[in-house]
Subunit: 409 residues, 2 copies
């Protein structure tokens, strides 16, 4: 029911709006980002949508329904990218949503509900250090303190105003009209490709917990200090990295998605001939089932004590830098999406999302769910990120059918 | 035979020449360094020494001997410091050497040999990225390519000229007149203090070998990539750090000083939600006995292959960034120093130096040896570095006796 060529045309056009030295980068708040949005807005208009910018800087294309006051079906994703990557992450979902509106128009289908296609602002971690600004902002979930976060000499409030939002009313945003939200996204993992499935129906978006650990040893001369008299923070931290990996691998074998990764790792003084005195590391934990994260958190509290004792270093209690609960997809929408898959002949499976998404924020105020389409080797957030256009088109067709189904209920 | 108060006065005076926010820093080539040298030069003059700057930027105070042409006894160390540290590292030896000249003068003792007190330029790794510039430079051991090394907009040649050296004749420096060199230094390790000894007689300065290893994995999404499908460079590198530490601890138990440390360690992309794709680490290896280092090098070549296979990452063959041989102290001088210890009643032991020193460079052209004095808890290269003045004075007395002994032979 959708036009695959039109999807390819738009995704390619957006890919062309990038610094050629850094494919495929359009970071939120940058001139390239605004150029990308100008393209999307023009395409929304061409699809007969009425465009506007909401207070949170979300670009919205609206198609009024036949029965005013019935509520709004929202579909979309984001068009910003991480630095150095992401030809499809967010873009595929934004264009697929637009294609739903176009197909409805092509077929002369009028919905009872209002339909809105959204390009959320700054889903990725932005230059202001925070993410999902648009989806949080649309639903009044931006903490006030964020407005004064700085990037260069701009506050986030100024940044939002510059893209066309209205920070003065941002904190009070509400969307009581939403009857449902759907997002299509690339999986960013290898499962669908490996299992030869067309669509993943996302049962839950894993909770993300970030844990900072500081290992403090003693900076001694690397040449003179006997091996058995050292308090080497790097050695202790290395043991911690290996143990985290083993523990996470064990937890991943039980039901429910689980992962834990040390992605940030910094040593001091980082000098060739000095025994490392300090390591600060950040664990990124993901759990579909909250109790798995609780178990992990309890384990890590004990683990750092064992390592501190074994290696003669000091490790303060792990600091929970952030801790978000898992977000289940709305059960009724999961069924709607499954029916839609069956209608268009998409091979599907239920699966969790290990990654965070705008859907998790909208889900706090309205029924929301998302689908995944396969991506090549699970690669994402890099120049190599790739999704086949036919897979995206299949996902768009699922959205199309699901929206029609939602409209009837 | 020496005046401990005078030593304390000079060391305290130099400690006062520092940026108060960064005790006790006087990095080579800085204005503070030149201020420190102006103080030392004034004290050399007050001790009746004739001062000069040699082509390598070494500050030298000379006391002519009774028998011209017999040769020069050189004693000294360096007055530059590492960033953020070192109240005694180098300074103790420079002032102790000066005190030898003063004591000879006080006692009206005339030597047959010329005596020179030296403050070597830039023993520590300098802003030009290289160390032991003065001791290498005095003896024609500076590689020509070093002269054009940059720091900011200055070449090393310009830096040497600015402190008073003469880069135009630097590469041709020779010191055939040297009959012997002695250096006093703080141990920078915990052994003398732990064993309650006054003096360490340095049998050899360990060879320093630096080995760079690059571990390459794959940057995957930390949220979505299943634990068993990762090529995590940090996990593999952590295993390497632990294995290096175990191996080094084993080798340290056999005769001869041995240590290996991973002091530099950097991960990429170093982002919270990305599986680390790359780790570059630098091993600092020290061996008193060359075959120990050969064994370690052979082991590490095999070890990285094992880890690459076990963790599904790529590790190129380790790169030997630098590789210096151990330098034994001149046996005749070790005996001279032992006699001197016995004369002044210093409790002494033979030991290796795990740290590199100017002595290693002078030893390439003349008989050279060094002594260690205890320092608190082995701490060095930090604000806490401390040596008791009485221990330094005892070491200066040993130098005094040793110089007189050398003069007779
Ligand atoms: N989808 C996605 O990559 N979100 C970024 C946040 C995260 O999951 O790390
Ligand atoms: N003595 C000293 O700290 N030298 C610096 C070079 C080294 O041994 O790492």
């Amino acid at each position: 029911p959708v036009n695959a060529d039109r999807i390819a045309e738009d995704i390619d056009a957006l890919a062309g709006i990038t610094d050629p030295g850094h494919p495929w980068t359009r970071r939120a708040f940058s001139p390239l980002f605004l150029e990308g949005r100008a393209y999307i807005e023009a395409r929304m208009k061409a699809a007969g949508l009425t465009t506007r910018m909401d207070a949170a800087g979300n670009l919205i294309g609206r198609r009024a329904g036949a029965k005013p006051g019935l509520g709004t079906i929202l579909v979309g994703s984001h068009s910003d990218t991480v630095p150095d990557g992401g030809r499809f992450d967010g873009i595929a979902g934004t264009i697929a949503a637009l294609e739903v509106a176009r197909s409805l128009k092509d077929r002369g289908i009028e919905l009872d509900h209002d339909l809105e296609i959204v390009d959320f602002l700054a889903e990725e971690v932005s230059i202001f250090g925070v993410s999902c600004i648009g989806s949080r902002g649309m639903t009044g979930q931006i903490p006030e303190a964020w407005l004064t976060r700085m990037s260069g000499d701009r506050t986030l409030a100024q940044g939002i105003a510059e893209v066309g939002g209205d920070p003065s009313v941002l904190l009070a945003q509400k969307r009581p009209d939403l009857v449902g939200f759907l997002e299509l996204h690339i999986e960013q993992g290898p499962v669908l490709e490996a299992e030869n499935k067309d669509v993943g129906i996302v049962t839950a978006i894993a909770g993300i917990t970030r844990i900072e650990i500081t290992v403090e040893g003693r900076a001694d001369h690397a040449g003179t200090t006997p091996m058995d008299r050292r308090a080497d923070a790097l050695v202790a931290a290395s043991q911690l990295v290996l143990d985290i990996r083993s523990r996470a691998a064990e937890q991943a074998k039980t039901p429910g998605h689980f992962a834990a990764t040390v992605g940030e790792f910094r040593i001091e003084p980082n000098a060739a001939n000095v025994v490392p005195s300090k390591v600060v590391l950040l664990i990124d934990g993901r759990a579909e089932i909250r109790s798995d994260m609780e178990d992990f958190l309890a384990w890590i509290d004990g683990e750092v004590k064992t390592i501190a004792a074994d290696y003669g270093v000091t490790i303060n209690p792990p600091v929970r830098v952030s801790d978000n609960m898992p977000t289940p997809g709305a059960p009724v929408l999961l069924e709607t999406l499954e029916r839609a898959c069956d209608t268009v002949g998409a091979k599907h499976r239920r699966m969790a999302s290990g990654a965070g998404h705008d859907t998790a924020w909208i889900a706090k105020v309205a029924p929301a769910a998302m689908i995944f389409v396969p991506c090549k080797e699970g690669r994402s957030h890099c120049a190599e990120e790739w999704a086949e256009n036919d897979d995206i088109a299949m996902g768009a067709a699922v959205l199309f059918e699901a929206v029609r189904d939602m409209d009837k209920n």
